[in-house]
Symmetry: C2
Subunit: 340 residues, 2 copies
DNA sequence: CTGAAAGCGCTAACAT
DNA sequence: ATGTTAGCGCTTTCAG
């Protein structure tokens, strides 16, 4: 026996039902449901009770349709990316404050960015926020032609879309400064290949090293975004002579892989070698990891991205396409003075 | 200068616009857009071209409204839960095959299950799939009164909702069997407290131990779902005398915390002590982790959950409320023969 | 403060 | 094969 016989056609209660039940007009019910003014406290009460009685819930779709505004912010995010999860959480909060709903569309190995964005468009989102988009600039530009687009954590050279990102280069500079202060010279960078932000971080590393007169110690090892790639690179580090005394990894995940390999190889962190991550994700904060890292302020970035999207929708004058958020350097327990 | 002047009021092209442009009726355009029959190949071509020319995209909401079916499956998931990410990916795929769209609603520290479900209801999802819901049974039952509900990875004693879950108890039994075969006796279980599945896994552990005549070796340590909690429990393990030779952790995350502490304490895995996880998440598969674990088949669970939701919507006769998916035991490199 | 009525963009009968 | 038309559930003037 089906529990929801004809769930397909099942008519949920509508405004009209509530109106009939409460003995008022649909318009009045609408007013009450929207918390608009124009109804006496008494009527309001009665309508609310009626709605509750018959289990009425406003229909977002009909509402959107009528208002010809969806008040919907589309968010494209990497399903398996913890940093994106943090951002999404912040976006939910910021959007609510701004009076917008959020439509999520995930990108995964089996679901392309293209598809993800299509859904968002079909849902009539008024603007989209793309987290770490990999789409070619041309494609983004085309999208910008249709609606406001905010790209997060992705640099664009001729920004067609708005961009909110962390000052990647500066973040790495902070890391280098910190390590140099601790006496390190042989500081190696495990990079992120062509991931968003990777080239900036490489550049920041090289610049900072040079500024400290450590040009000859510059050493960029190919890495990646995953623990696996970090682990592989860490093995390279261990065979490098002279052996580096400090490692700046592309991100926290990568750094975790590095730590793991060092641990297994009886290389002590931070006594023998210091390790710095990037993101200040949950991972870095785990007490047994306690990773020194460059913090990206997910909450702030999320807030700014939403604010920017809303500003565009409100037709405000927006001076700059790009918002660069300064990183915070978080010193924990994986960095220490150079050994010896 | 705003790039989207009046983006608010900006009228996107509608069916009528396409119709006018192509010089046909809206009905015909509708037919073409839905790929329904009733239009000549020639007209079809012309309409499609017109749509492309003026950048038309069907409006999902209006479509839903009119069809009085949304063909929308609501999915509630834990934003920071990697296993849920795997499930979501599978659900996208399965839903598409079944001709449904997916509406995602995340649960996070700052966003309760209650809120998440509210959104799904407001969006007029026809059915909801809840991943690892923590809501009390009564609340679920109430929800079931409104629409078909499939709870994934959560046991219900008097299932009001449909349930798709892994045979947790059996999974742990497989782990115990494996360890006993390797000669282990002092096998400790780090549990998951009141997380979904935790009590089943505890029970499975106790039962299996007893069946092997190891009742006196039963030892359940309070743990949790996170690396942090796993790490804390691992410290307990190290102070237990006689020291256990094997650990079955609540899940892979927890096991990772355990591994980390062991590594730091110079306790070799698997030479000194064996470790087993649960989930077979990405984490377990990382080459440098290579965790022996009890695999939950995310793809299959996702598929079954969608199938069940669709079956309910189709008013099919469904014999059982509960679908229990057998676990796969995955032997990697964290288990070995008992030392000595 | 309340009600009647006109659509929002689309689909599905029903005509032609 | 194509056009006409009546709503889906809601919001929003505009009159009472």
């Amino acid at each position: 026996m089906a529990q929801h016989p004809g769930a397909r056609e099942g008519k949920r209660p509508t405004l009209a039902d509530v109106a009939a039940y409460a003995g008022v007009s649909t318009a009045l019910v609408s007013i009450v449901m929207r918390d608009a003014k124009g109804a006496s406290a008494q009527t309001r009460e009665r309508v609310l009770q009626a709605a509750k009685d018959i289990g009425y819930r406003p229909d977002t779709r009909a509402r959107m349709l009528r208002r010809s505004r969806s008040r919907l912010l589309g968010v494209q995010f990497g399903l398996h990316n913890p940093f994106h999860s943090d951002l999404v959480e912040g976006i939910y909060a910021a959007a609510e404050k701004a009076g917008y709903d959020v439509a999520l569309s995930a990108v995964a190995p089996s679901r392309s960015e293209q598809r993800a964005v299509e859904m968002l468009l079909a849902d009539r989102c008024e603007a989209v926020i793309l987290l770490g988009p990999q789409a070619p600039a041309a494609q983004l530009a085309e999208l910008v032609g249709r609606l406001p687009v905010v790209a997060v954590a992705r640099r664009l050279r001729e920004p067609s879309a708005d961009v909110v990102r962390t000052a990647d280069a500066e973040g790495v500079r902070l890391a280098v400064d910190h390590l140099v202060e601790l006496g390190h010279q042989d500081i190696v960078h495990i990079d992120g290949g062509k991931a968003p932000g990777a080239s900036d971080r490489r550049r920041g590393y090289r610049t900072a090293m040079r500024r400290h007169g450590l040009a000859e110690h510059i050493n960029v090892l190919p890495g990646g975004l995953t623990e696996e790639e970090g682990a592989a690179a860490a093995r390279d580090v261990l065979t490098t002579r002279p052996r580096p005394t400090a490692v700046i990894a592309f991100n926290d995940h990568c750094a975790t892989g590095v730590l793991d390999v060092f641990l297994r190889s009886r290389v002590r962190v931070p006594a023998d070698i210091s390790v710095v991550g990037f993101d200040d994700s949950r991972l870095a904060r785990l007490s047994h990891v306690s990773l020194t890292t460059v913090g990206q302020d997910a909450a702030r970035i999320a807030e700014l991205a939403v604010a920017r999207a809303v500003a565009r929708l409100d037709g405000e004058h927006v001076p700059d396409r790009e918002i660069v958020v300064p990183p915070r350097f978080v010193i924990r327990r994986t960095t220490a003075a150079r050994p010896g």
